[in-house]
Amino acid sequence: MSIAIKTTELSRSFTGGGEKEAGGLFQALSDVNIEIPEGMIYGLLGPNGAGKTTLIKILSTLLLPTSGEAFVNGYNVDNQYDKIRPIINMVSGGENCGYGILTVAENLWMFAQFYGIPTKTAMERIKTLLEIMNLTDKADVKINKLSTGMRQKMNFIRGFVTEPKILFLDEPTLGLDVNAARETRKFVMDWVKNAVEPKTVILTTHYMKEADEMCHKLAIIDSGKILAIDTPANLKKQEAGGASYNITVGYKEFDANSLRAIPGVASFAHSVSDEDAIIEMIFNLEAGGALAKIIEKLSSEGLSILNIHKKEFSLEDAFIKLVGRRLNGGEAGANEHR
């Protein structure tokens, strides 16, 4: 499989922004090494200011790296941008592009012209994409009459009209309602899956669920550094450690310390519900910790097991462990059981 994107020790710093007055240098990216095979949805997950957008801007030839190298479809972003631009496109969430005086179809046609697409081909693609995104009835409406969500849908379509080989999606579902966001995610996944020629999508998102659902591979990025790269499933597995079980038993006196002492149990907590006469127990196991030993112990204590539920670790759990805080900027809560 060919490599769509490759970066080597890629770094980018800025003199400016909030640091300008202090004369400081803001390091937006530090020694980023990624390799993205074609035909993949590759996610960049990180909090605000992590460097996701800077990385996308370098890869989309809008920004030069300060040091290191980046290649898109084998071309160097530094001096071969003229070969990269015809095969890429980018959609940013919340962007306000286009001209309000033109209709949806006209705006899309205009942007297609900048890629040299003949009008007939462009209009056919626009028609199809408008249908898929349920925007056909707005084709002849001026975009200054559109709602934010509809305008975002139009921008989204703009990215696909040129049929790029590599597409950069920077928070593409920002401003979309739940249904539209779902349609959008499905469309992107189908677009990659059903493509005759391999298509690659680089996605930045704030939404864990979106990253988990869409991405074949994820890079977790913070303060300009890549902290981990793997599939969402592996990230959850590796970063979360062992499994966690919620076990409900009928009420009976028991020795909590003896349960904590079971080999493989990392931590144990419980709560008693007098009303229902049950005890909720939470067992966090070390990697390889055995559930069988717990069940055996509970039985030997004379506790009747009513329910066993394995807790699935989320991507957010992995993210918190790696970055040390939630994606929305909050601290990892005290109730995070790890």
């Binding site: 030839t61 030069l64 631009r85 980018m90 592009c97 005086i101 900048f114 890629y115 697409i117």
Partner: protein, 273 residues
């Protein structure tokens, strides 16, 4: 440039020009802002000349000059300031991202603006001519048309150069534009023959192509035009051609520099900078 690339660029130029051309039909407010309002100072100057019993050709000079202000206004607000707006809306990022050269976008913008301005100047002039009963003595319709088109070309080439320049110093764009407005109205001889300024000042004013274009058009359209000429029409047309070429080269140079700086410093795509 290959034929394929040329066709691609022409598609882009047409697409960007389309926005301006279609805008003329969809925003009737221009009738007020770009037709009625420019007529007011024209009328003011015309009444002054009339009260002084000046020859009617002087009224014609004022009406032609006043009509031509539409070009300058369009260049300032529709060209020079445009990239600044394009950056704010996010369009500039998309222009830089696409395979078509940004110069094609600029040319499309200029052609679209030139097209709409062409009709605005003619309509404003015809209304003024009708109100004040001006008689024209056209020496050559062909050369008058050529001069008019060359003036538009030269002024919009200057506008293309200014677009990049203003984007580099974007934060001060508004102040610079305002500062540029009145001195140009004065130096270009919008409301009087530029010869009145004398040759040294007139020569400096000639860097603004509208000065020479207006002077040449007055010579070609009015009986008293040759008597108030700053330079012979042939010379003025030649200078207009030279200025067009210089400004186009300047626009290309500045745009390349701007694009490089934009990529190096992130100025064009990061709005906070």
């Amino acid at each position: 440039m290959s034929t394929d690339e040329l066709i691609k660029n022409l598609r882009g130029i047409w697409a960007r020009a389309y926005v301006r051309i279609i805008g003329v039909n969809r925003e009737p407010s221009w009738l007020i802002f770009e037709l009625f309002f420019p007529l007011l100072p024209i009328c003011a100057f015309a009444f002054v000349y009339k009260s002084m019993n000046a020859p009617s050709d002087y009224l014609g000079f004022v009406i032609l000059g006043g009509a031509m202000t539409a070009i300058w206004m369009n260049v300032l607000w529709g060209m020079a300031a445009q990239f600044f707006w394009e950056r704010e809306s996010g369009n500039l990022t998309l222009y830089m991202l696409c395979p078509m050269p940004t110069m094609a976008v600029l040319i499309g913008m200029a052609i679209g603006s030139g097209f709409s301005t062409f009709f605005r100047v003619i309509i404003t002039f015809m209304i003024g001519k009708f109100i004040f009963g001006i008689t024209l003595h056209i020496a050559s319709y062909w050369w008058l048309f050529v001069t008019f088109m060359l003036t538009i070309a030269a002024v919009f080439s200057l506008g293309m150069m200014m677009a990049s320049f203003f984007l580099l110093y974007g934060r001060d764009a508004w102040n610079i534009l305002t500062v540029f407005m009145e001195p140009v109205f004065f130096l270009s001889g919008f409301y009087f023959p530029v010869k009145t300024l004398g040759y040294p000042l007139g020569a400096i004013a000639s860097l603004i192509p509208i000065t020479l274009g207006l002077d040449a058009m007055r010579q070609l359209a009015f009986k008293l035009g040759p008597a108030t000429a700053f330079l012979p029409v042939g010379v003025e047309i030649t200078i207009l051609i030279i200025l067009t070429i210089i400004y186009l080269i300047g626009a290309k140079y500045l745009l390349n520099k701007l694009e490089y700086l934009g990529r190096r410093e992130g100025r064009l795509t990061l709005r906070w900078q």
